[in-house]
């Protein structure tokens, strides 16, 4: 049986529909990513799964327990790290961890093996107040606090938001190690480049799931030809390509522009000629395979299913 099963769950706040008819299943032992921008409904969905909110419609189970009916039982079994690292800034690293351990009826000593690898990095600062830690360290401490009671499923809501690229990478390395020990983990993130670190991902946008699959498979849904284009004057290049008759969309991607064309018939030579006519210099054009972000953007631009 799957670790998390979500069936047609909806939730709105007044007029605003936060989660719209979402169905997903997350397998035992999976590292599953919920990927989408702010306001996509990720946090609301998380809160429903950790029994903090009631869904308006639909049902969901976590490790076989209903999130509405069996909420008390479930609360013993999940680890939850909300959006902002929920620590007590005026308590020390050690005091925070000890407090959360006691709340969950355990001790640091009893479950130290679960967090040892992460906590060892924090140990030199164990008497420092949590409020004075750097973003990356807070993130690690919050993770320790969520792990200390040996949860069966770990829910991490945007654990890497506002954290620098190095700390983010280290954090994902930690999640992968935890996952290798069999911990089912659901992570949400607005960073598309983190999708590759997950076993499977779900794209979310305005309360809906746009697609669910393995990161490598999901990019196959991108059907139109894609080119990476570069020239000396990037600003003028964007303007000109967007006005080109063959262009479906054109966005900056790192040092290149990613150009999606309307039909398969357009070749890089035609594009090159068009740009030469517009007096561009140092033109570079190559057909490329779409990445996660290309796919997400393409899916976003699809007309929404009629409500």
């Amino acid at each position: 049986m799957d670790a998390i099963i979500i069936e047609n769950v909806s939730k709105s706040y007044g007029e605003a529909l936060a989660v719209a008819d979402v169905s997903l299943s997350i397998r035992v032992g999976e590292l599953f990513g919920l990927i989408g921008p702010d306001g996509a409904g990720k946090t609301t969905l998380f809160k429903i799964l950790v029994t903090l909110l009631l869904p308006d419609a639909g049902r969901a189970t976590v490790v076989g327990r209903d999130v509405v009916r069996d909420y008390k039982d479930l609360r013993q079994r999940v680890g939850y790290m909300p959006g902002r690292f929920s620590l007590y800034p005026d308590l020390s690293v050690q005091e925070n961890l000890a407090f959360f351990a006691t709340v969950f009826g355990t001790t640091i000593r009893q479950n130290y093996h679960l967090i040892q690898e992460i906590y060892s990095q924090l140990e030199p600062f164990k008497n420092r107040r949590a409020g004075q830690l750097s973003g990356g360290m807070k993130q690690k401490l919050a993770l320790c606090c969520a792990l200390i009671h040996k949860p069966e499923v770990l829910f991490l809501d945007e654990p890497t938001t506002g954290v620098d690229a190095v700390s983010r990478k280290e954090f994902w390395d930690m999640l992968r190690k935890l996952n290798e020990r069999g911990l089912t983990t659901l992570v949400s993130t607005p960073y598309m480049d983190e999708a590759d670190r997950c076993d499977r991902i779900a794209f979310m946008q305005t309360g809906r799931v746009l697609a669910v699959d393995q990161p490598s498979v999901i990019t196959n849904r991108f059907r139109k030809p894609l080119f990476a284009v570069r020239a000396a004057d990037t600003y003028r290049l964007i303007q000109d390509l967007r006005q080109a008759p063959f262009t479906e969309s054109c966005y900056s991607f790192g040092e290149f522009l990613h150009l999606t064309v309307r039909s398969g018939g357009v070749t890089d030579l035609q594009i090159g000629q068009y740009l030469l006519d517009k007096n561009h210099r140092n033109i570079e054009i190559q057909p490329i395979q779409p990445g996660i972000e290309d796919t997400f953007m393409a899916l976003m631009n699809q007309p929404e299913p009629t409500a």
Partner: protein
């Protein structure tokens, strides 16, 4: 065309802690200058000194031709600033926010309505001109905040993580605005955690532990470190410092 920012051995200490350690760099007028670094590397401190909000401990710096020690008021009049927390009033409408900031930045009363219409048209948000800012999607707020920071046509605009949390398309639309501003001669000084955004900058600096470890074009940095992305450059430079 002079330099938009000139710093020489710019340093800020808080007690024994050296937040920004003798950084020296120039930013050209009209350049998009990426200011990267891990959390706590000293970016915010440096940016505050350049904006005239914090007095340096030592070293020199001038912004838009004004000295950070003696002319911080002049600097404030000649720069725009937008932080990740925006600067808009959530409980005012879009129009009221523009009018308010127009007044703050000394725009003439008669200019403001035209400016307002111009911004609304450019962002395509005429329909929400009289809605409260609180009701706007995050991406719209960010674009509006950027436009407001440019209201008084500053020589240089400082953007502190301007694109956090929005979808990839909105993020790129925001960068379109940055390109446009730079194209019109405004210097853009920007911090970000998105490494692909670092590639959009003309030049990128990377701060590590208060020092400026690298400064070059994205292509130059990638060649120098023999890697194929700015993310890789960042990982090499900033590694080992995040656990300090």
């Amino acid at each position: 065309m002079g330099k938009a920012v000139i710093t020489n051995q710019l340093t800020k200490k808080f007690g024994d802690f050296v937040a920004t350690n003798a950084i020296t760099f120039d930013v050209e007028q009209g350049e998009i200058f990426g200011f990267l670094g891990a959390n706590g590397a000293g970016k915010t401190t440096a940016m505050r000194m350049l904006c005239g909000l914090l007095k340096p401990s030592s070293g020199q710096a001038s912004v838009a031709g004004f000295d950070v020690y003696r002319q911080s008021e002049k600097i404030k009049q000649n720069i725009g600033y937008m932080s990740q927390r925006f600067s808009l009033y959530e409980d005012l409408t879009v129009r009221e926010n523009i009018r308010f900031y127009g007044g703050i930045y000394g725009l003439r009363r008669a200019e403001i309505p035209a400016k307002t219409d111009q911004i609304l048209a450019k962002l395509g948000i005429e329909s929400v001109a009289n809605s409260l800012v609180a009701a706007l999607p995050l991406g719209w707020k960010q674009k509006l905040a950027f436009s407001v920071a440019l209201l008084h046509e500053p020589k240089i605009v400082f953007l502190d993580e301007p694109t956090g949390g929005v979808d990839p398309i909105t993020r790129r639309q925001f960068w379109d605005l940055i390109y446009e501003a730079a194209h019109q001669g405004t210097t853009v000084f920007v911090t970000t955690h998105y490494m692909d955004e670092a590639e959009y900058c003309n030049r990128v600096s990377i701060m590590v532990d208060g020092r400026m470890k690298a400064l070059d074009t994205p292509a130059g940095l990638k060649t120098a470190y023999g890697v194929d992305s700015m993310d890789a450059v960042f990982q090499i430079l900033a590694r080992g410092t995040s656990t300090k």
